[in-house]
């Protein structure tokens, strides 16, 4: 008999816009008893003094330090956008840590013939609107507000530095050469209206489901659809 319960916990690795809290899709799973663990990652946490790692391997080590500190693995991992790239590498290189892998429009593989929208060729305040198909969620408009008027924009800038340093210039970190190492069950979802990463890339990840009405950060745009697919995948 297949286990029809949600896992006790999962790790959620957020996307290019940083950590704005638990997305509505993941919140549905949390409401059903699954603990959502979102590791805090240097740079994305907006803490002063951040210097972006020079090498991708150092970035992975930074993420993995945060993941290991949570003591959550082995468990399912849901990675969105940049988090999807990191989650895929975690599954590829540390297969014992990931029991199931859900990728939501992951970075890591690029198509030079259709590189998608250049998020960093628009001014900072105009970037967020390109990540969502249904408007920018309120959670992203007030990030780091608790840091105060002076420090909040700096914290946001550091988070943007972290994201840009991981994806510059095309967001390809060679996952195509490592994807064969992912042996755990895998689900790939993609927003049909993803401006950053054209949905056609889903085939490069071995195929998956394209979600209508969703932009790049689909767990925010279409929570019911994404939660439903995650629920099925995680229970299966």
């Amino acid at each position: 008999m297949p286990d029809s319960r949600l896992p006790e916990r999962l790790i959620y690795l957020f996307g290019i816009a940083g950590n704005a809290g638990t997305s509505p899709a993941l919140q549905q799973l949390a409401d059903e008893g699954c603990e959502i663990i979102t590791p805090s990652v240097p740079g994305f946490d907006g803490v002063s003094g951040f210097v972006a790692p020079f090498e991708y391997l150092d970035w992975l080590a930074s993420f993995w330090d945060s993941i290991d500190a949570s003591a959550a693995t082995p468990c399912p991992v849901v990675g969105a956008s940049i988090g999807g790239m990191i989650a895929a590498d975690l599954a590829a290189m540390r297969p014992e840590a990931v029991t199931k892998l859900a990728l939501l429009a992951p970075f890591g593989i690029a198509d030079a013939s259709n590189p998608g929208f250049d998020l960093y060729a628009v001014r900072g305040p105009d970037r967020l609107q390109h990540l969502f198909a249904k408007g920018v969620p309120e959670a992203f408009n007030n990030r780091f507000a608790d840091r105060g008027e002076e420090d909040a924009p700096v914290a946001l800038y550091l988070s943007e530095i972290a994201a840009a340093s991981l994806t510059w210039p095309l967001g390809d970190r060679g996952l195509a050469r490592r994807i064969h190492r992912i042996t755990c069950p895998k689900l790939v979802l993609w927003g049909e209206q993803d401006e950053l990463l054209p949905p056609g890339l889903i085939e490069r990840w071995g195929g998956g489901d394209v979600v209508a009405g969703a932009g790049h950060l689909l767990e925010w745009d279409t929570p019911d659809e994404v939660a439903s697919k995650l629920r099925t995948f995680l229970k299966d």
Partner: protein
């Protein structure tokens, strides 16, 4: 004061409606806009203008580096400088510069600049800009977070390569070499003077002051726009306990000289309007990649001048001639008018090296040569006597 003749090498035939129909002169400019015959002719003309500047008595001739750019046709300034090394004999050859973080390994820059220094018998000034975001992060794809650490490490590697008397190993974050041993080493010993063009970041002021490099406030908007930047540099010089020798500083300025103010306005208005409203039509989205400025600079609300102006200009209107004059973007007039303004600027800001931009926009060869001759004969001699009490420790030994 030293007089330097600075060439941007702009493409002179952008269409009249360029800033209406194209979003940017930089990064993704339409390559179909460039006519190959005009381009070829332009290189010939501009190189001859640089040679002519030496004939007019300029202390130095300057080239610089830009990429994917409609107003700077010198992605490789070293190519132009190598011609100038053989075509001239007295003027310093100022390469402002090579964007160190773009080259792998930077030892290549050490080699090429050493060749230039040898070919010119010690007349090279080695300029090392960080490079604009448009040139570095967008046109060359450098990760903005890596740009400055790569830049600082690259300069250190080049300097060691020039000064070392034997092969050595270098183990940096971005460069690992078991054998650094460039042949040739420079003509000047231990190395050519190093100038650092900057846009106003706190780190660059400190870098120049700490290492005794010349700080080049390279602005397209004239000395008035860089008052704060220059003040910040001099504060850092003082903080490091160094003397306020004006020769530590270089400033660029668009200049137009004629017999009368009225004649100057008539001659130079169109080229200035071409430059500021066509050549400098930069899409603001290409000016602000996260990581290009450090946390300290972001915190200080530092914003590069190009970005500021690009934003304000595109958000509002084309610059008018009167605005260009009032804001000091261009210093235009009779020899007396120009000299008075530049002398006042030099005194106020303590400028020992004036990088005169006497060709700008679509200024034709005849007017450029006239401007160069007028400046060389009627403006430069009086200015050159300024600050003569200071030694110039940053001037090439062969010039």
């Amino acid at each position: 004061m030293k007089m330097l003749w600075f060439h941007l090498m702009p493409y002179p035939a952008l269409p009249d409606d360029f800033n209406k129909k194209h979003r940017s002169v930089w990064v993704d400019i339409d390559p179909a806009l460039f006519d190959r015959d005009i381009m070829a002719e332009t290189y010939d003309t501009y190189i001859e203008q640089l040679v002519y500047a030496e004939e007019c008595g300029f202390d130095a001739i300057c080239v610089n580096e830009h990429h994917n750019n409609g107003y700077g046709l010198m992605p490789s300034p070293n190519l132009i400088a190598s011609i100038l090394a053989s075509r001239t004999s007295k003027a310093a050859i100022t390469v402002l510069g090579n964007s160190v973080a773009l080259y792998n390994p930077p030892v290549r820059i050490a080699e090429e600049m050493a060749m230039l220094d040898l070919m010119s018998r010690g007349r090279l000034i080695a300029g090392f800009p960080v490079g604009t975001p448009m040139d570095t992060c967008y046109s060359y794809g450098v990760n903005p977070s890596h740009l400055r650490p790569k830049y600082y490490e690259g300069i250190e590697l080049i300097k060691q390569a020039w000064e070392s008397t034997e092969a050595f190993a270098f183990n940096g974050q971005f460069n690992q070499h078991r054998y650094v041993n460039p042949v040739p080493r420079p003509y000047q010993r231990p190395r050519p003077p190093i100038w650092i063009p900057g846009g106003g970041s706190v780190e660059t002021w400190d870098f120049c002051a700490a290492n005794d490099y010349v700080y080049g406030a390279l602005t397209y908007y004239g000395y008035k726009m860089v008052r704060e930047t220059i003040a910040g540099f001099w504060r850092q010089v003082e903080a490091h306990g160094k003397d306020a020798n004006p020769n530590r500083l270089a400033v660029t300025q668009f200049i137009g000289v004629a017999d009368t103010d009225a004649e100057a306005h008539k001659l130079y208005r169109e080229p200035a309007e071409y430059f500021f409203n066509r050549s400098l039509h930069v899409y603001p989205g290409f000016t602000d990649p996260p990581g290009y400025v450090t946390e300290a600079s972001a915190r200080a609300r530092y914003k590069s001048q190009v970005r500021q102006v690009a934003r304000s200009k595109q958000a509002s209107h084309d610059l008018t001639w009167q605005e260009m004059l009032d804001k000091g973007y261009v210093v235009v007039g009779s020899a007396d008018t120009v000299r008075e303004q530049l002398e006042a600027a030099a005194r106020e800001l303590n400028i020992g090296n004036m990088c005169a931009m006497l060709q700008f926009g679509n200024m034709n060869d005849e007017v450029t040569r006239y401007n160069t001759q007028m400046f060389g004969e009627k403006v430069a001699p009086q200015l050159r006597t300024m600050f003569s009490e200071f030694s110039h420790d940053w001037w090439p030994t062969g010039a």
